[in-house]
Every structure is written in C-alpha cells, then in structure tokens.
C-alpha cells in the first residue's frame, strides 16, 4: 500500500467515525402528520382519480387482475420449492429472524381491520361475477400465505422463507387496497 492509499484509507476511517445522526432542532412529526391527514382526506374526496377510473373497463380489468395474481402465485410456488429444496444449505448461512409473530400480532390485525372492512364494502358493490373473480384472487393469495406460513413454521430459521411470508402479506394488503380504491370505497376510519 503506497502513502496515497494509506492516507485515503485513514480519511475514510475518520469519515466513518462522524455521527450519522443529527437530531433536527425541533420535532418535525406534527408537520408530517398534518400532511398525511390532508393526503388521506384528499384521497377520500378528491376527484383526481375519477378520470382514470372512468376509463377503466371492468370486464378487462378483472381478468387482468386474475392473471397477475396467478403469475404471482406461480412465482411464490416456484420460489417456495426452490427454497424448500435448498433449506438445509440455507440454514447454515442464514440468520434466525422470526417475522411471523410480528406480522400476525394484535397491532397488525388492528391496523388491517379497517382495510378489510372497506374491502368487504367495496366487494359488495360488485356484480356476482366480478365478486367471484376478486374473491378467487384473494383466495389465491391467502392459500399461498397458508402454505408459506406452514413452511416457515417448519423451518423458523429460514430467512428467505420469512421474507416471502412478509412479501405475501404485503401483496394481500396491496390487493385489498387496490380493490378498495377501484370500487371507490377508501378507508374512512384510519386514525390520524
């Protein structure tokens, strides 16, 4: 190592010792919370989204949603099998984070509650055929969740599997949010 490199390394070491955190001079959260509240209110009442939905063709959109979910499920299954076959090898290298109790805890269920309510309300406005399609999509995700949860319980040390469980929970939320937005039944009782 020449002198130049040595100096550069010393500089980088010194830089890494600088504090990464600098507290703001005052609490910025109230300003953020105020904006989030305004966003939420606007999202409920604003007509900005209407032009898009006006052009949305339900008979086309629902099969597309179904196909997307099918692809997602296929990806989950393929990944699960890949993970399952390599579990022994992964157990050596991966750490032991356990997300399951967190994602299923009471706080999460409480946060999910209003969304389920609005999703169900939105679902009620659809025609029987559309409702079957949407329910089928949700069933696919939940069935994937069930399978992944079982696998994660059998292999609690497998981090990849736990990431998949979390991603699938996110897909479920996203799916319900999309349906709630598409049916214009947005959450109204989210506490801000």
């Amino acid at each position: 190592m020449n002198d130049n490199q040595s100096e550069h390394d010393a500089l980088f070491t010194a830089m890494s010792k600088l504090s990464r955190e600098i507290e703001p001079s005052y609490d910025l959260w109230p300003g953020i919370a105020g904006q989030l509240a305004r966003d939420n209110k606007t999202l409920r009442t604003d007509s900005r989204f209407r032009p898009f939905f006006k052009w949305l063709n339900w008979p086309i959109a629902l099969p597309l949603i179904g196909v997307t979910l099918g692809i997602l499920l296929a990806i989950f299954i393929v990944r699960y099998h890949g993970v399952h076959s390599g579990i022994e090898a992964n157990n050596v290298a991966l750490s032991t984070a356990n997300y399951l109790p967190v994602s299923l805890d009471a706080h999460y269920q409480a946060a999910r509650g209003p969304l389920v309510k609005t999703f169900t309300a939105g679902l009620a406005t659809l025609s029987p055929a559309e409702r079957i399609n949407v329910e089928q999509g949700l069933n696919d995700i939940q069935s994937a969740l069930h399978t992944l949860n079982e696998a994660a319980q059998q292999h609690p040390d497998n981090k990849t599997l736990q990431h998949l469980v979390l991603s699938t929970y996110q897909r479920e939320l996203e799916y319900m949010q999309n349906i709630a937005i598409l049916t214009k039944h947005l959450p109204e009782d989210i506490a801000l």
Partner: protein
C-alpha cells in the same frame, strides 16, 4: 465557513449513540418489518415509530447534502411524506434505511438544484477551542466536507459516512458508477488538501 449551528453539531458528535440500522439486531429487524406492515395497512402510529427511528439519520444526510438547517428539515418532512405515499411499493426484503435514503437523496437533489451554495451563519468558535480532541477532529472533518463541491460531497457523504457502495451511491445520485468513482477520488484529494491546510 460555518455550516451547522453549534448546538446541533455538538449534540450530534457527542451523543451519536442511537443504534445503527445496518447493525440492528434480528429482533429489531423483525419489529421494523412488523411496523412497516402496519403502516402499509394504514396505521399512522406505526409510521410515526418508523419516523422516530430514522429521522435523525435522514436529517444528518439532508443537512450534509444541503448545508442548510431549514432546507434540511423541510427535506426530512418531504422524505417521510413521500415515503408514506409510496410505502406500498416498499418490498419487505429491501432495507428500509436504504429505501428512505434513496427518497431523501432524491428530495435533497431536487432542492439543491433550486438553491445553490448556501452558507448559514453559526458560531462554532467555542467548540473549536474545546479540549475535546475528537470533537475538534470531527469539526475539522465536517468543515472540510462542506467546502467540497456538490458532486464530490454527495459521494463522500453517502459512501464515507453512510457506508453505501459505489453501485448504491451511483444509483441514488443518478450517475454512472465510473463517475461516482471519479467523484470519490476528487473528494478524497480535496479533503486531504483542506485538512492539511487546517
């Protein structure tokens, strides 16, 4: 040239004891994943906890990029508002800290484009004369850093202080990896010059 108000910098360099997210325990990661899920479901209180955990780090990044206290605070607010709006796009397998950094860098870049080369008055003489040698070194480093041109400073802040790789840094700044390496080389040279002067 003085950039940080003395009180702000004093707190940041002396305390600095908040756990590093990159080094957070497995339990901490799991807890944060749970908070993200709750926030994605619309729980603002969960999002506030995420804010409380990351705000100081995002503020540090914005302050070093923008060199202005009030702009940096605006940048932090905008970062978390954007994060809330796009939280559904966040993937569980990604690092929340890195994702927030990306948003913060985008916001800071857009703000620095509209306001250039800002200097804010402050009073650091009392700290410079401090007996605390480490604190003095930190201040010298911060002052030298603030004298760098924007491109070089951004790269050095993201890589040297926040530990991002060349690829991550280049992606965040929207530049080629080669450019990032060149900027780092330039930053190192200039830092050495500034520190030797002092």
């Amino acid at each position: 040239m003085t950039i940080f108000p003395s009180s702000t910098l004093l707190v940041s360099t002396v305390s600095g004891g908040i756990p590093d997210l990159q080094e957070t325990s497995e339990d901490g990661v799991a807890k944060e994943s749970g908070l993200v899920l709750r926030a994605q479901a619309g729980d603002v209180q969960a999002f506030e906890k995420i804010y409380r955990h990351h705000a100081a780090r995002i503020h540090g990044l914005c302050l070093r990029m923008l060199k202005d206290v009030s702009l940096a605070e605006d940048c932090v607010q905008e970062t978390f508002i954007n994060a809330w709006r796009h939280l559904h796009r966040f993937e569980a397998r990604a690092s929340l800290a890195t994702w927030l950094h990306r948003i913060a860098v985008n916001v800071a870049l857009s703000r620095s484009a509209s306001k250039f080369n800002i200097e804010v008055d402050g009073n650091m003489e009392s700290i410079d004369n401090s007996d605390n040698r480490d604190l003095g070194v930190h201040l010298d480093m911060e002052q030298a850093l603030m004298q760098l041109p924007c491109g070089a400073r951004y790269v050095l802040v993201l890589m040297g202080i926040y530990g991002h790789t060349h690829v991550e840094t280049a992606e965040m700044l929207g530049i080629a990896v080669g450019t990032c390496k060149a900027q780092l080389h330039r930053a190192r040279k200039l830092m050495a010059q500034h520190l030797n002067k002092e």
